[in-house]
């Protein structure tokens, strides 16, 4: 035993692993287990009735569909934001950089109220959109606006450090080999950024699915149209239907987990394909 001992630079593998597991169990797994446990008080038929009610199903579609769309929008514009912050110098750059984190710091309800005030029919922006036949507040579009707002920092902050590390010499090299601007972006820059971009996408998505505060104000919560799944859970809770609330929560948990697992798998695949993971 002693002969096979290996020396590590930093000791304490067992201690840290033990700590990690205990901590995760306490903080993450225990509450989640309670959700499943509480749900188990329902019979299978009751469970199915709760989670397949038309209003609830409509809310799944809205929550997951709009969250994915919001994350995708953030992936595109977050990348552009990160690009201009890393590559260009402009007056007020530090200010803009600080502004990006603001959706993190702002209480989400405040964001919701502000967005509603802007986009309501008589709001600053809403009054001009309404004659064009575009209604934002109290429609799924409003939910999208709120989710784009709260998800903004994730992609910017995950992509930014990778972009900073990316040597402009690579672009010079590609250009000297005859590649055009789009080709350089597509074949040289994007593959390097893709794993970070996917991480940012996954984070923005996860945040959007769980978001409650900013959405309920602007969504208007019209049944079958603009109700998000977290709202359905709250509604059940307000009716003291704890088992029903946790049943919907279980569906959300499982769906979110599967989607995140998929994104992680995608990320591992790109990393392997590009030789970072060998």
């Amino acid at each position: 035993m002693a002969a096979a001992q290996t020396f590590r630079v930093l000791p304490g593998f067992r201690l840290t692993l033990g700590y990690t597991l205990a901590y995760l169990s306490l903080i993450v797994l225990l509450p989640l287990a309670t959700v499943f446990l509480k749900t188990a008080s329902l019979s299978a038929a009751e469970f199915w009735n709760v989670i397949s009610a038309p209003r609830v199903v409509a809310s799944y579609k809205l929550s997951f569909g709009v969250s994915l769309a919001a994350a995708a929008i953030n992936a595109v514009f977050g990348l552009m934001l990160a690009w201009s912050l890393v590559r260009y110098g402009f007056p007020g750059k530090r200010f803009v950089d600080a502004l990006i984190d603001l959706p993190f710091a702002l209480p989400t309800a405040v964001a919701g109220i502000a967005l509603t005030a802007l986009y309501a029919k008589n709001g600053w922006i809403g009054q001009y959109l309404d004659p064009l036949g575009i209604q934002v507040a109290f429609k799924p579009l409003g939910v999208l606006v709120a989710l784009v707002f709260i998800g903004l920092p994730f992609v910017v902050r995950t992509v930014q450090p990778i972009l900073e590390d990316l040597d402009t010499e690579l672009e010079d090299a590609a250009a000297s080999l005859g590649a055009g601007r789009w080709q350089i972006f597509r074949h040289v820059i994007l593959p390097v950024l893709l794993p970070a971009l996917l991480t940012g996408f996954a984070l923005a998505f996860a945040r959007a699915v769980g978001e409650y505060g900013s959405v309920i104000f602007i969504a208007g919560n019209i049944p079958m149209v603009s109700e998000i799944t977290p709202l359905m859970i709250i509604t059940k809770l307000e009716q003291y239907d704890y088992a029903g609330a946790t049943a919907i929560a279980v569906v959300m948990l499982v769906l979110s987990f599967l989607l995140l697992l998929l994104i992680n798998g995608l990320q591992a695949w790109t990393a392997r394909r590009t030789g970072r993971d060998r």
Binding site: E169, A175, S176, L177, G178, G180, V192, G275, R276
Partner: protein
Amino acid sequence: MSIQVRNIRKTFGDFIALDDVSLDFPAGELVALLGPSGCGKTTLLRIIAGLEQADAGRVMLDGADASGTHVRERQVGFVFQHYALFRHMTVFDNVAFGMRMKPRGQRPSEKETRTKVEELLTLVQLEWLADRFPAQLSGGQRQRIALARALAVEPRVLLLDEPFGALDAKVRKELRRWLRKLHDELHITSIFVTHDQEEALEVADRVVLMDRGHVEQIGTPEEVYRQPATPFVYGFLGSVNFFHGRVDGGNLRVGEDLLPHAPHELDAGSEVIAFARPHELDLVPDTHTDTGVAARVMRIHAFGVSVRVELEGLNGLSGMSSGQHFEVELTQQRVAELALAEGQNVRLLPSRLKVFQRNDAIGASA
């Protein structure tokens, strides 16, 4: 293909990187741009490539003005000091990159690409690394792959920016011999930038010496080493001893000492700086004359074929300040004759002295 640059000027803010530089690079030659860091050599190379735009002046490729064309239209192969390989692509994909980026009409088929890449990898002797990623290669291997990648687009000229700068001494020597051999096979007009004089003299057909945005001298390695045109070139190529003095008849007066000196055209009394290589100096015992510069032997390095002697000048030495440093190369026999010992006082006598007027001697003090 020949390259001409005409009256190139480039500034970065207040800093003048290139000041009215004009140069000719004949077709098929391997030319070294040599100079200390900050002399503008890399900037000049990047301007020739089109990676940087000159403030004024023209770049002519094969006689045609290329100043207005983009780097991707110039068909130049560029090799970077830190390789700039695409780390998310295999060695094969890196080398194939240039061919795959061609417009659809000119793009070779995947089969032609494969043949060409294999050919190039064989040329750089790394065909067995095709499926590896850059991170799995050594520095020398990476630079050879970078060269193969640049050659894949059949460039009209090859530009190398400190290609061996990031490599250790042994690999560097190996690679520069290999580069010379490769150039002899391909005969593609090539320019490489370096701050290593040994590298430039050993590899290049022709050396361009640059300092502070100016061209100091152009010539074959032998010319620039044997007949340095300016004090800067004298000081930059090889180790050298210098004396500040004044012309005094047939002699140079250095402080209180006199140095005999061959006929020259400089006016009596003009301030000059004189250079002598270590092997162009002899030591004589100090016999209380004023012929030769007085110095004290500090260290004697007796290993090797010749003996290197380090000395400290006694000329104008006052109080605590240490004298000027001299280095002399003598034969073993001469050292024995003189019975040289550390701490001994001697006089330095040059067999050959190169004298420059003082006002243009600014660059040589380094």
